[in-house]
Amino acid sequence: MTTLNTNTLSGLDWNQDEAFMGELRQQMLKFAQLQLQDSYLAEDAVQEAFIGALKNQQSFARKAAFKTWVFGILKHKIVDIIRSSQRLVSNGASHSDNDEPPPEAWDQQFDDRGYWHLSERPTAWKLPEEIAANDQFWLVFETCLGALPANYSRAYMMREFIGLSTTEICQQLDTNENSLNVLLYRARLKLRNCLQNNWFDQGA
């Protein structure tokens, strides 16, 4: 039986970093809970993902690499759980949660005629390959994700992280294609805007 002893990741100094492991666990829990809407299932999935990651005995030179690895495993656990339990997500969620969200601030990126406000018009992103290894960038990315309303990010993660089809997501969220399109659109619009303001416009 593998335990959650971080020493199994041999030869690295950061694996002793309890603060990092603790924080990672919290992030994973948040992610799993949002998808599964059940704290016990989320707890189990995270636990299994950790064990799965440590069992593989890979050596990770960087924290970020370990993090993407466990998140990858967690993602698969979540897909398994979601697919094996019909409508799991909608069972626990209150219905109003799934209704089409009211129009709000996302709209303010456009003028009355539906054209970009000059200050909001997207400018091209400089996105070098190395960004994958930039912990600072991922921190901003996570923060922007975390700033989305829960129902936006749940839909977005199901689509873009877990890779479910829109049909599957509609079933899970007990919603229709049009409402889902709206959710995904607003999630992307907000996420894009947040990254633009907090990363790309900072000249980072």
């Binding site: 299994e48 799965g52 993407t68 656990k77 456009f110 997207p122 399109n181």
Partner: protein, 63 residues
């Protein structure tokens, strides 16, 4: 003629489904004249790629 709000809605949906021919044509007309929406379209793909990287490297489920 399509405005930016409508164009960006289609650019988002293009990540999830194949657009109809008519949608594609009016979108092309719009983006050919609108740099903001052209950038937005590219960024939709970049967002998708980033999201994918966020949860890589997709190990096989450990059953």
């Amino acid at each position: 003629m399509m405005n930016c709000k409508q164009a960006t809605q289609l650019l988002s949906q293009a990540q999830d489904r194949k657009l109809k021919l008519a949608e594609n044509v009016s979108l092309k007309v719009h983006t050919s004249m609108c740099k903001g929406c052209r950038n937005f379209g590219t960024q939709m793909q970049q967002l998708s790629r980033l999201s994918n990287q966020f949860v890589k490297p997709n190990p096989k489920p450990d059953t």
